[in-house]
């Protein structure tokens, strides 16, 4: 249990998707103009991460890894399909995003109206594929740890995008040199926020 909480806290603050790995920067810059829309996208990212990362973990462990096919027959124990992982992961993500979209549309029209426009964007958000690839690289022990990692990364991403959106709303009224307006100042402020998040590096879990 303690291990799971550690992974959860670590993936929110220390290994933050945006500030430590720059994943999902494209949508982070494009959709962070107002707090409301960035909240919508953030929740959609948490949602999709929570579904795709554990699913990809299961696929990786029982189909792709070296020796993963041994549960079918001992003959397959030497097969290593891990070179297929990129294409399988992205296929799973694209398919899941489509499924989630249809499911949400049928079951909760209110949620669909809020998330709807963001869901298709998410299939090509690097944070989603990045989380699956990190999951493969870091070798977690079980599905519980992977779920904690997915939830933590999603919440970390949400925190970052809502934070920058709030700052950008205020920035509209401040005087900034013209060439720095918009994109330039957003980068510099993200850098400053990242320095603030670096202070969590000292925490030993």
């Amino acid at each position: 249990m303690q291990e799971i909480i550690n992974i959860f806290v670590k993936s929110i603050f220390i290994d933050n998707m945006i500030f430590a790995f720059f994943l999902g920067m494209c949508s982070y810059l494009a959709v962070s103009k107002t707090v409301k829309t960035s909240m919508g996208l953030g929740i959609a990212v948490v949602f999709v991460l929570l579904i795709t990362v554990p699913l990809n973990y299961i696929i990786d462990n029982y189909l792709l890894k070296e020796g993963a096919l041994a549960w079918i027959s001992p003959k397959f124990a030497t097969i290593d399909l891990s070179y297929l992982s990129f294409i399988i992961f992205i296929a799973v993500i694209a398919a899941m995003v489509q499924l989630v979209e249809m499911f949400v549309e049928k079951t909760s029209p209110v949620l669909y109206a809020q998330l709807g426009i963001f869901l298709p964007l998410i299939a090509v958000n690097c944070a989603i594929l990045g989380a699956s690839l990190f999951m493969q690289e870091r070798q977690y022990n079980n599905v519980g740890e992977v779920t904690a990692f997915a939830l933590g990364s999603g919440i970390g991403w949400l925190l970052a995008i809502v934070g920058i959106a709030a700052i950008r709303e205020k920035l509209r009224y401040s005087q900034i040199p013209t060439p720095l307006k918009g994109l330039g100042i957003t980068f510099i402020i993200t850098g400053l926020m990242a320095i603030a998040f670096m202070s969590f590096l000292g925490i030993k879990l």
Binding site: S85, I87, I90, V124, L183, F187, G191, M198
Partner: protein
């Protein structure tokens, strides 16, 4: 072949730079530039993937049904990325380890998808190929600038060779270790955008 359209290569280098103007492919640009060598390898890989996926998609553009075009594009791009990944693992294993997940992330790199949607879906194969090369080079310019600045001031070396002489260190010179940390990459890109827009007034917002 309808002539060699030189503009397709020249424009993305500055006026339509994929990173500073089109805001595509930021993720990998920031993460791999702490050292020069991975930055160059990454730039070459992205150029190859963009150019060839543009070429292939452009040949197929009239046969792909519009509703499933994203999936088709993703499949073609991931095939190319798998090829690049295997080549990197075979020939430059150390760099491939340093790049870790960012090779795989070329699949979702916005430059690739963005150019496919914006250019290759509506242009001839050869033009699309040139557009891919041009955008790859535009991406490379920013990556190499960042790589040089960050490695020179962060570790005092370039391509792994020491540049700043020992006598400087004896006089009390220190490497700025913030340069190799993530935040400085963001701030440097901000400064590059600032300089670039200050010199091209028509790119400023509002």
């Amino acid at each position: 072949m309808a002539g060699f359209n030189f503009k397709l290569i020249k424009n993305p280098l500055s006026k339509e730079n994929p990173i500073t103007v089109q805001v595509l492919g930021i993720c990998s640009a920031l993460a791999v530039t702490a050292k020069l060598q991975p930055a160059v390898v990454m730039a070459i890989s992205v150029t190859v993937v963009v150019a060839f996926s543009n070429l292939i998609i452009s040949y197929l553009r009239n046969t792909i049904p519009p509703r499933i075009r994203i999936i088709v594009q993703l499949v073609i791009v991931s095939l190319l990325v798998i090829l690049v990944d295997q080549v990197l693992k075979a020939f430059v294993y150390d760099v491939s380890k340093q790049l870790s997940v960012f090779v795989g992330l070329i699949i979702t790199n916005c430059i690739v998808m963005g150019r496919l949607e914006a250019f290759a879906m509506s242009n001839k194969p050869f033009d699309s190929f040139l557009d891919g090369i041009g955008n790859g080079l535009g991406y490379a310019v920013i990556l190499i600038t960042l790589g040089v600045v960050r490695e020179l001031f962060g570790s005092g070396s370039l391509w792994g060779y020491q540049i700043i002489p020992d006598s400087f260190y004896e006089m009390g010179y220190q490497n700025n270790s913030l340069m190799i940390m993530p935040p400085m990459a963001l701030i440097l890109v901000g400064i590059i955008i600032w300089v670039h827009r200050a010199r091209n007034k028509d790119l400023c917002e509002k």
